[in-house]
């Protein structure tokens, strides 16, 4: 119970409850939702009434209620879709880094994954969980039932950082195990020794077979250069023997090199129709999600 509250605090739920994850692609399924599904109206479940606002579709006005109350209400329905989604969380050693006074990247990634799982299951999507660090692991198969959310939370809570495995192998395994037209949300710092080549290729393969692939890049301000640390002997947690005596705060090229790396990675991902979403751990989780959803809505 504690873990669940930790992941989904009431404030976060309050903020995220009105949000809808807008898919870019039309998902074919059994149930219609507010997505641009051709099967809208079949099997939809009434959820609640709300005040009519300008722009609302008049087809959903509740005329009987208007006759009784002399006020305009529209009916809202819970969405139902057959979207199969995977949350892929990076649990490698580098995700343990927290920066000064903040949460670790893995913790922040877990927040994001939990919030997204909540939203997607609430929207009727089947959500699975996979992680990579010491090794690529498929933790939970996608399911849409409410009780599955609890299993997701528990598995996210149990994730321990360690190892140097990349996401590419895990993404390829997902491509073979999930139906086409699914959604893969990768939450990672996207730091790979090969400059992200294998990751871009694997994500491209998923995208090519019709899946929606989203890469949420999690980074601390210390790593991005926004709050570069003072002098020290630095090492990559995934390569602890390689120490670099440096003064990042005085290194004017540090932030530029980090930005260039991620800009290159983002370009290559977008070329393969993979959505790249940079997120900073300094940013509130709900704020990051709202910003992202608003960008998607255009």
């Amino acid at each position: 119970m504690t873990a669940r509250s930790d992941f989904l605090p009431p404030g976060l739920l309050e903020h995220l409850g009105g949000l809808e994850l807008v898919a870019r692609t039309v998902v074919r399924g059994f149930q219609a939702g507010i997505h641009r599904s051709p099967l809208r109206g079949a099997g939809e479940d009434f959820a609640r009434h709300r005040d009519y606002q300008q722009g609302d579709d008049v087809r959903y006005l509740d005329w009987k209620l208007f006759a009784r109350t002399d006020r305009l209400y529209v009916r809202e329905f819970e969405e139902r879709s057959n979207l199969q989604a995977y949350l892929v969380v990076d649990a490698s050693a580098s995700m343990e880094y927290a920066g000064a006074g903040g949460v670790s990247k893995l913790r922040y990634a877990s927040y994001l994954a939990a919030a997204l799982a909540h939203l997607m299951i609430g929207a009727g999507d089947a959500v699975g969980l996979a992680a990579f660090g010491a090794e690529p692991r498929l933790l939970l198969a996608p399911k849409a039932r409410k009780g599955h959310l609890h299993d997701l939370m528990l598995n996210l809570e149990r994730l321990q950082p360690g190892g140097t495995a990349g996401a590419a192998e895990l993404l390829d395994r997902l491509g073979t195990s999930m139906r086409r037209g699914g959604r893969v949300i990768l939450v990672s710092d996207l730091l790979d020794d090969d400059g992200g080549e294998a990751l871009v290729a694997a994500a491209g393969r998923l995208s090519a077979r019709g899946d929606e692939v989203i890469a949420l890049r999690v980074l601390t301000p210390e790593e991005s250069g926004d709050a570069a640390p003072d002098a020290g002997l630095f090492f990559d947690p995934e390569q602890p023997r390689r120490e670099v005596p440096a003064t990042p705060r005085a290194d004017s090229g540090y932030a530029a090199r980090v930005a260039a790396y991620y800009a290159s990675l983002a370009d290559r991902l977008r070329e393969r129709a993979v959505e790249y979403v940079p997120v900073s751990t300094a940013e509130p989780v709900e704020q990051a999600l709202v910003a992202w959803i608003n960008r998607r809505r255009g």
Partner: protein
């Protein structure tokens, strides 16, 4: 004005404070090891180490330097004094009966005035008027009119006590805290009747420096038979068979004011002029009558152990008179203690005689008895033998023995009115500087000592340093 008792500690503290400063400037810490997943994007810092300096470092440096300086300042014994007024004076003015006669009293008041009033009438110190009691006149009451009224008055007629005057010195000095040095003067006509036992230790205890003796002249000869008799009292005959053995006692007596002559035992002619006759060796039987006659006429006959057998009929001593080696230490009733007597003669004081000295074991060492107008003293040891002749108190021992009957039956009016001899004057004067720096006066200091406050501030600095050092470690 801030003064320091040991200013060298300030220099030491300043040098010590440079040590943390130097360490702060030269210290270069190796950089701390820290994870950073994006370390691959860092450019190498050409420096192998970096000097990490935080604001707390400067605070710690300041606290450490302050701690050392304050500790050194505490050791330097800082004292805050009001503006110093140079050298102040304490004048002990004798107003006893001895100051009567002639113009002694006006001259004494004038001498005190000279020392306590400056050329423009400014007050230079404190006046102590004493006879058998002392009155401290504080500087605020010292004025020309005071001396005018004193000069117009007469001495009190009481007996003077130097002990009383000496004990008043600390109180008198205590009223002179604004001065940076003090001197003490005693204006008196030094007489034995103002003296008392234990004057030496008392004198050393009350004042660390010398005391200026402003001696007023004695009355003219003829004014008193006492004085004429005292002149005679300074004559001494050292009476021995072997004159060349008198190498210790003669100069010792001379040091205490006696004019010593040596004579053969048969020189009866010289006995009449002697106040003291020291018999240091056995004398022929024919000499006994002359010595008895001289004693009856007023002389003091000091007989030592080697002459005991030849003068058995005169000396105030009884018993077997067996000679033992190793006399040990001798205590004189008037105070002096002399160690290292070479031998002793057993026995006890004869009937009618008084013990005036004892051995360390309590047995009698000397006795005295009146004989006519004079006195016979027997010392149960040999005054020219043993290490006692090297003792600093040896002259006072001889002088005390020479005054044996005074100690035995109390001071006779004649001798107690005699002027102090040179030894007693030396005791009164004391040793050391005539002007004493205020900081050397025991229990005075002449200001507010700040050493303990400096030490307390140093402790606070140490606590603050500990706190900030701990906070810094936590921050790192």
């Amino acid at each position: 004005m801030l003064t320091f008792g040991s200013p060298a500690f300030l220099l030491a503290g300043a040098l010590a404070a440079l040590v943390p400063l130097a360490l702060h400037l030269i210290r270069r810490r190796p950089p701390s090891r820290a994870p950073l997943p994006t370390a691959r994007f860092l450019s190498l810092d050409p420096r192998t180490s970096v000097r990490v300096s935080r604001p707390t470092d400067l605070l710690l440096l300041a606290l450490r330097m302050l701690l050392l300086v304050l500790a050194a300042a505490a050791f330097a014994r800082p004292v805050w004094r009001p503006a110093a007024r140079g050298t102040a004076s304490v004048v002990l003015l004798d107003r006893g009966a001895a100051m009567g006669g002639g113009d002694a009293w006006p001259r004494a008041v004038s001498a005190a005035r000279q020392r306590l009033l400056g050329p423009r009438g400014e007050v230079l110190g404190t006046l102590v008027l004493f006879d058998s009691a002392a009155t401290v006149v504080p500087p605020s009451h010292v004025a020309p009119t005071l001396f005018d009224s004193l000069a117009a008055a007469r001495p009190t007629g009481g007996s003077s006590r130097y002990a009383v005057a000496l004990r008043a010195i600390p109180a008198a000095v205590g009223g002179l805290r604004e001065a940076d040095s003090v001197r003490v003067a005693l204006v008196s006509r030094p007489r034995w009747n103002a003296w008392s036992d234990g004057m030496g230790p008392l004198r050393r205890a009350v004042w660390p420096g010398a005391i200026e003796l402003v001696e007023l002249p004695d009355l003219d000869a003829g004014d008193s038979d006492i004085i004429a008799d005292n002149v005679k009292a300074k004559e001494a005959i050292y009476f021995a068979n072997a004159l060349d053995r008198l190498s210790y006692a003669k100069p010792a007596l001379a040091a205490t004011g006696w004019r010593v002559r040596s004579a053969a035992a048969s020189a009866d002619a010289v006995l009449d002029s002697a106040r003291l006759i020291v018999v240091a060796a056995a004398v022929p039987a024919s000499a006994e009558a002359g010595l008895r006659r001289a004693a009856e006429a007023g002389a003091t006959l000091l007989v030592t152990a080697p002459a005991a057998a030849s003068l058995r009929g005169i000396i105030p001593w009884a018993g077997a008179m067996r000679v033992d080696s190793g006399g040990g230490g001798m205590w004189l009733a008037s105070g002096p203690h002399v160690s290292g007597a070479g031998m002793r003669v057993s026995g006890d004081a004869a009937r009618g005689a008084s013990v005036i000295a004892s051995w360390d074991d309590g047995r009698p060492a000397a006795a005295a008895r009146r004989l006519g107008r004079g006195c016979v003293v027997f010392a149960a040891t040999e005054l020219e033998r043993g290490e006692m002749t090297l003792d600093a108190e040896y002259p006072r021992l001889l002088d005390g023995l020479a005054r044996g009957c005074e100690a035995a039956d109390g001071a006779s009016s004649i001798d107690r009115n005699a002027p102090l001899d040179a030894g007693a004057r030396a005791v009164l004067r004391g040793t050391g500087a005539r002007v004493v720096a205020a900081r050397t006066v025991p229990g005075w200091g002449g200001g507010v000592p700040l050493g303990r406050w400096a030490l307390a501030a140093a402790l606070l600095a140490a606590l603050a340093e500990t706190f900030f050092a701990y906070a810094r470690r936590r921050a790192v």
